[in-house]
């Protein structure tokens, strides 16, 4: 009875304190060495490893037995909207986050709740993207970046809040949805708010004390290098948010972050390249200095944020190891860049979905030239492909060193039209220069066949090797495993699937409670491998569905409400 009362008191009355704990599990400190070389059984950060490959070396679940996969346990989050966070696992202790900045700490074997943290958000919060993409782990602490722009550190064992630091003012449109990146005791976060007139940045905090260490803006201040690419004071509210976790190369101590588009959306409101918008930037984790950058496309006018962090992959080409940066652009091109001692170099790029904007890429720099007929502007309706959500939005791709293939959750046969208007800035309000009625998303005739795709690319050969298509659009983050498998959901039919990594054949699928827009992960305890993913549709996937329903005269129902699913082989099944 005492325990029941305690549980009630914790869950219902003081949820913000994070003291709703019944912690029973031991906890192993997450050291820098472990982050750089995680044990195969664990998933300690957003993409498991600093190179953002999203690959698990576990192979107990494999192509031969995956058809036997069953749900072992599940957990309702009690929250609607988009559940995008990966389940992180450290020696049997699991952490997930949900919209509204809830953290659930669970026994990864049984699903027993260890503790729950629920942030009390202000009533006047403007939630354009009510979501969160996960926590970061370091030593014995858990870090959460919040939608009211705070960084919170909690005790990983108990959920007790150790400190909270204001990062920016949410009333000015700043909010955070990404999982922090921790390197050498520095917790790095980036800001969202590109549609609300923010000036984007990445900021580092001391992991122990929460003291701010450095802050690097993605829009240079007047006089700084790159400021000449912004006319007048357009950079002041120039956007360029950072809302997906960066990659990190321990050899050079450089982190690589993707950046969002500039604001307002129409490029003719801010003539110039608008550095460092729609780029990858190499940021020194010790000082915050931008050491190098590559801008995928200049003067964005398509809402093509390039925030997905590049995958760091060693590729054998022409008898040498190419230390690549791989990025599947929202602009519809698959970019191969190179990390060199001189900085980021361009190698090659090609369209992976139909794109009608670029007419040519400079062979040396990769700088695109544009067809002006497809570059939106103020005072005119302009069509372009792919749509504003691009060939791929934030959902991460995965790379398997076993196959050498990159797996891209793509969207094909979908275009947009925008009709720009002059934008007027007001703090904390939309600053894009487009009323809703001037934003169109529509399928091409080929869209009747399919919109969603899962593509596999042989990076060494530079060729696509297979494509699996879906009638639905695809918002599914991807997991690759050493079992020769690729896991992903993302379609509006609520399925979570396992694909053969070599062929793309669907080997197993489970229909879930909602649409799966969560990042799947894999872990093992005492030799048993698990696959974990959150199912909970919302935000951009929901919005895009509304556009498609309008185009087709349909009314697709994807129920909301988050559930964590954990799959494994039935206990009686011997591992082959």
């Amino acid at each position: 009875m005492q325990r029941l009362l305690t549980s009630f008191f914790c869950l219902a009355l003081i949820p913000t304190l994070g003291l709703c704990a019944n912690p029973t599990l031991p906890y192993r400190s997450v050291t820098q060495a472990r982050l750089e070389a995680p044990e195969p059984d664990n998933w300690l950060m957003y993409r498991r490893t600093y190179d953002s490959q999203g690959y698990s070396p576990l192979a107990t679940i494999n192509t031969r037995n995956v058809r036997q996969l069953v749900p072992l346990w599940s957990f309702s989050t009690g929250v609607e909207e988009a559940h995008q966070a990966p389940p992180l696992v450290n020696d049997g202790m699991m952490f997930i986050t949900t919209p509204r900045n809830q953290i659930l700490a669970l026994d990864a074997r049984t699903g027993d709740l260890q503790w729950r943290y629920q942030r009390q958000l202000p009533d006047d919060l403007f939630q354009l993207h009510p979501t969160n993409r996960g926590v970061a782990l370091y030593e014995d602490r858990v870090y959460l970046a919040t939608v009211d722009a705070f960084l919170v550190a909690l005790d990983a064992r108990t959920g007790e809040v150790l400190w909270e630091k204001p990062v920016e003012n949410y009333l000015d449109g700043y909010y955070m949805t990404l999982a922090p990146l921790v390197v050498n005791g520095r917790v790095m976060v980036g800001t969202s708010g590109g549609e609300l007139g923010v000036r984007g940045f990445i900021q580092a905090f001391d992991a122990k004390t929460g003291d701010a260490l450095w802050k690097t803006y993605t829009v240079p201040a007047p006089g700084e290098p790159g400021s000449e690419t912004w006319p007048g004071d357009t950079g002041k509210h120039g956007g360029v948010p950072v809302w997906v976790t960066g990659s990190y190369d321990p050899a050079t101590q450089l982190s690589y972050w993707g950046t969002g588009n500039a604001g307002p959306w129409m490029g003719d409101a801010r003539t110039g390249d608008n550095l460092y918008a729609t780029s990858v930037i190499a940021v020194d984790v010790n000082t915050g200095a931008i050491r190098s950058h590559h801008q995928y496309h200049w003067n964005d006018s398509w809402d093509w944020d390039e925030v997905a962090a590049p995958l760091l992959i060693d590729i054998q080409r022409n008898g040498r190891t190419l230390k690549s940066l791989i990025h599947e652009g929202r602009n519809g091109y698959l970019w191969m860049l190179e990390r060199t001692s001189k900085g980021i170099g361009f190698v090659e790029a090609q369209a992976y979905v139909k794109q009608n904007v670029f007419t040519r890429l400079d062979p040396l720099t990769g700088r695109p030239e544009y067809d002006p007929q497809h570059k939106p502007r103020i005072g005119q309706r302009t069509e372009f492909c792919p749509s504003i959500w691009g060939g791929k939005d934030w959902p991460p791709s995965a790379y398997s060193p076993q196959t050498g293939y990159l797996y891209i959750p793509a969207n094909e046969n979908l275009c947009s039209a925008l009709a720009g208007e002059p934008a007027k800035y007001r703090a904390g309000e939309p600053y894009i220069g487009l009323p809703v009625a001037n934003i169109e998303v529509f399928p091409t005739p080929e869209g009747k066949d399919h919109i969603g795709e899962l593509q596999a690319w042989d990076l060494a050969a530079g060729k696509k090797v297979w494509t699996k298509t879906f009638k639905s659009h695809n918002w599914g983050p991807v997991l690759a495993t050493a079992g020769g498998l690729v896991f992903s959901g993302g379609t509006n039919d609520r399925y979570f699937r396992a694909f053969d990594a070599h062929t793309g054949d669907v080997l197993w699928q489970q229909r879930t409670n909602s649409g799966v827009v969560g990042v799947p992960t894999s872990y093992a305890i005492d030799g048993q491998q698990y696959i974990a993913v959150q199912s909970g549709w919302g935000v951009d996937a929901q919005r895009k569905q509304e556009f498609l329903d309008k185009a087709y005269g349909t009314k697709t129902q994807v129920p909301q409400g988050g559930v964590l699913w954990v799959f494994g082989l039935p206990p009686a099944t011997p591992a082959p």
Binding site: P122, D123, D124, L125, L128, P130, E429, P430, A437, R543
Partner: protein, 188 residues
């Protein structure tokens, strides 16, 4: 035509449910204006960042024109409570015969007012579909009907925009009650 046996009862229940949301009914005793929120006898004013900040009069509201965004104010317009987004109010004039009965009881000479904060995720409902005469939230495209007590029409909000009763007294446009519902997101 033979009615199903419970159809009258169902109709009565639906009627009762509608009546409970009627703008003109006395609000529940527990509901009072929050700190700074519009309260009876407040004026409504265009905010300081408007081109012409001032107290709004009935004559400022043109039939079927897009809504104005206003804030609660004293009668002189010197103290406009514009600091909180939760205080923003959408106000417009419709033809009285366009309004349903509930809305009519809240309106003053066809002028209606609603909370300007979306009941889905707290965004500002800053757009107006002039053709359909609907409020439109730019964040996630929820739509609301100003002629039917702020009723939800489309999008993820699924809850009406709370109405604010109005009155005209000695030629002044004034607030006649408090918001008929919780302002902003369903749970932040």
């Amino acid at each position: 035509m033979v009615k199903p046996p419970d159809s009258d009862r169902r109709a009565a229940l639906v009627g009762l449910a509608s009546a409970l949301t009627l703008c003109a009914l006395r609000p529940p005793a527990a509901r009072a204006a929050g700190p700074g929120q519009p309260a009876p006898d407040d004026a409504l004013a265009l905010p300081s960042w408007d081109e012409r900040p001032r107290v709004v009069t009935p004559e400022d509201l043109v039939l079927n024109a897009p809504p104005l965004v206003v804030y609660p104010s004293d009668l002189t317009g010197k103290t406009v409570r514009e600091r909180s987004r939760l205080n923003q109010i959408l106000i417009l004039r419709l033809s009285v015969d366009q309004l349903d009965a509930a809305t009519r009881r809240c309106a003053a000479d066809g002028i209606v007012a609603y909370a300007g904060t979306c009941t889905h995720a707290g965004c500002s409902v800053s757009e107006w579909d002039a053709t359909a005469r609907q409020f439109l939230c730019p964040c996630h495209a929820s739509r609301f009907d100003p002629a039917r007590a702020g009723a939800w029409i489309a999008g993820p909000a699924a809850r009406p925009l709370p109405a604010l009763p109005l009155k005209i007294q000695h030629g002044r446009l004034l607030v006649a009650g408090v918001f008929r519902g919780k302002i902003g997101a369903k749970s932040a």
